[in-house]
Amino acid sequence: MLGPFLETLIGGLLTGVLYSLVALGFVLIFKASGVFNFAQGAMVLFAALSFARLAEFMPLPLALLLAIVVMVALAYAVEFLVLRRLVNQEGIILFMATLGIAYFLEGFGQTVWGSDIYKIRLGLPTNPIFLFESVFPGGILIDPSELIAATICGLLVLVLALFFQVTRVGRALRAVADDHQAAQSVGIPLNQIWLVVWAVAGLVALVAGMMWGTKLGVQFSLSLVALKALPVLILGGFTSIPGAIVGGLIIGAGEKLAEVMLAPVLIRTFDLAGGGIENWFAYVLALVFLLFRPQGLFGERIIERV
């Protein structure tokens, strides 16, 4: 029993890292500008599409480089054409703007790159690895490409955390996240900071898109991955980078375990069909969190004075 449990757990955690990565994009922008960026999913799709199509014509590193350029240019366009003109507007108006950006990007991506299913081949090893064969019968099966993806994500998160913690730009980003007015008063230009966070969120989207694209193929449904990031955010808190990571891991592991462990119980005891648990489990978990700990695991405590 322990063998399959561990196998499911590890598989779930590896998927969870990918959820974390998408959630991270949301957190970056939310922290710095208080904007809930609905377009994060569309950015993942757009980045993956750009990379997949570019990789058809050129070597991978060059395609990666160009895709980075595309995402930075996108950040610039968003800042220059949209955010700059909506300074000091209500949160809901900025949210609507990102909704518009999301649908534009989804459509525009198809206009430029086409709407078929594209494959990303990063040349990662695909032969499954078996661990602890001596301990468990059959060992524990791990997909090496997932392992590599998780490692890359982990590294990216580490680099981002360092960037925020020790550099001047990182300090400026945290300053803006804490207090817009005070940040401006010490000479931090909000526009440039927004440009930086959107660019970083774009790069995170690119990595997420490449990883998910390798797994599922680059297609429209990739943008729906973003919807899985919502429960992750509610678990981890909207403003916490560690929260996004831990939240992703919990959701990833939780839903896989629920699917494998809970379904047989439901089938046996209640004679249900038992499928689809993976689809709703994350959201139910998020709802429970909303009821008992609305700020999430690591989010800032919401104290309302009455």
Binding site: T167, R171, A172, R174, A175, D178, A182, A183, V186, I188
Partner: protein, 266 residues
């Protein structure tokens, strides 16, 4: 140790002049046709009852608000519109009435944030934090530690400022503003909500800043005793209109000012 006398200052060089500035929010007039100046090296108080337009005036000076009419000349350059970070770049630092610190960051990081404009190394180096950027960070740290010593906040260097008592937060905010090495320091009620001892400390710090760094200071304050002790000249606003401007003794004796404060004669 005392700020330079009114006579010294009157002869001083003009640092900032505000001419016929009017500011309105929709139909509400916050400031109506106010002119005044600030000379280099002086401590300039802005006083007046609640809603007199004092904070609005500071917001106009550092670019949070753009006045509908009038012009502002700072260090010889006249401008009508300016963004806050441009004001900061020009040498204007400020504190806020309700303490606007970066609450999640430590005292040290808050003050380092005040050095933002003094750090010139490129983004690339900043990200890697090696080579010139590291040397620069070390140099900046030295200056920040000096300010920390000056304001006697060594013991809270590593504490997140959100956890500090209010009086200390105000001091950290002053430190952050000082870290910008400003030509003009705007203090919005630096002593509000403080007990007597904290007020005395803050008074001393303000005088020391003015004395040792030669920083020009404009401050808003309610405590008349403090204002009279600290400032070289006092500007009095009431309902957005300038009702008096001069040395503390004159202003204190002014009938209009007394009326405004006691609410008589309207």
């Amino acid at each position: 140790m005392r700020a330079p006398s009114a006579q010294d200052v009157a002869a001083g060089e003009l640092l900032l002049s505000v001419e016929n500035v009017s500011l309105a929010f929709g139909g509400v007039k916050a400031i109506t046709n106010v002119s005044f100046d600030i000379r280099r090296g002086e401590i300039r108080a802005i006083i007046g009852p609640n809603g007199a337009g004092k904070t609005s005036m500071l917001n106009v000076i550092n670019g949070f608000y753009n006045p509908q009419r009038g012009k502002i000349t700072f260090k010889g350059r006249t401008r009508t519109r300016m963004r806050p970070y441009e004001a900061a770049r020009g040498g204007i630092a400020r504190t806020f009435q309700n303490v606007a610190l970066f609450k999640g960051m430590t005292t040290l990081d808050n003050i380092m944030a005040g050095r933002t404009l003094k750090m010139q190394r490129g983004f690339f180096w900043q990200v890697l934090r090696v080579g010139p950027a590291l040397t620069e960070e070390v140099e900046q740290r030295r200056i920040v530690e000096e300010i920390i010593d000056f304001l006697k906040i060594q013991h809270i260097r590593k504490v997140p400022v959100g956890k500090l008592p209010y009086g200390l937060q105000k001091r950290v905010e002053l430190a952050r503003a000082l870290a910008m090495e400003p030509d003009l320091l705007l203090l919005d009620e630096p002593m509000a909500g403080m007990n007597l001892e904290e007020k005395e400390d803050m008074c001393r710090f303000i005088l020391d800043v003015n004395d040792q760094y030669g920083t020009t200071i404009a401050l808003i304050e309610h405590d008349m005793g403090v204002v009279m002790d600290l400032s070289n000249r006092v500007l009095v606003l009431d309902h957005g209109i300038k009702i008096a401007d001069g040395v503390p003794a004159t202003v204190q004796a002014d009938a209009t000012v007394i009326d405004a404060y006691l609410g008589v004669g309207h």
